[in-house]
Subunit: 114 residues, 2 copies
DNA sequence: GTATTTAGTTTATAATACAAACTAGTTACT
DNA sequence: AGTAACTAGTTTGTATTATAAACTAAATAC
């Protein structure tokens, strides 16, 4: 069993820490504002913006632009079913990797103890 | 509670999938040869070499060069206590993040149900 | 009417993952 | 003996990308 090749198949769009935090936050809220999300994650605006663009391009999030009282721009972000599924799969994959790594480790330590 | 900023503190040297697979493999074997490790991880030689250099510079692995029958070069790699500790901490951090995210998620869903 | 703030986007830079090209030595072939 | 091809890596170049700095557009303050 070769668990290690599995790691290279991790969804890199989600694996990146900034995006992992965005996706995790969005999974918890049904909808979030740009600035709220920024505060939660501690990212700069520029950073937030570009990461969100990537997530949007992959259809992991839905971005809506509206105006508060027809004046102040407000960007709201939601996770899509696709994104939610991808996040779930990501954690499943992490769990799977850890499990089979542990398993392989046990076998190997019998072969090469100490 | 703001779990999401924690993610940006993940040890990036370990987080990178290629290196995570190297470190996981090394944690299982007490010592591994370059080529064995390459086969396990599915990385190219160039890739292996540069990732190992980075891990060595951080003192996460110990690289030893010897010659088989005084002829064929053989590189052996071991994880160091520092590296082993870093890997353990990495998984701990992942667990912690997941846990507090789940917690935060629960709270948030009470505030914004549906 | 100018200055500052708000809510983002775009651009530029610095880091880095990756593979291709290279090195140094070994074995195979004729 | 001499050349070709293989082995075990390393170094170099390229392409991607994470990040922050600079910019935009509109609103409010003075």
């Amino acid at each position: 069993m070769m668990p290690f090749k599995e790691m290279s198949r991790l969804d890199k769009l989600i694996h990146e820490p900034a995006r992992l935090s965005i996706m995790s936050a969005l999974e918890a809220c049904s909808m979030a504002e740009f600035l709220f999300l920024q505060e939660l994650t501690g990212l700069t605006k520029g950073n937030m913006s570009s990461h969100l663009s990537k997530l949007e391009k992959a259809n992991y999030v839905l971005i809506g632009k509206s105006f508060l009282r027809k004046k102040i721009p407000q960007t709201t972000i939601q996770i899509t079913p696709t994104g939610s599924h991808a996040l779930t799969e990501y954690w499943k994959q992490i769990d799977h990797i850890r499990e089979i790594t542990k398993q392989w480790s046990k076998e190997t330590n019998i072969a090469f103890p100490g």
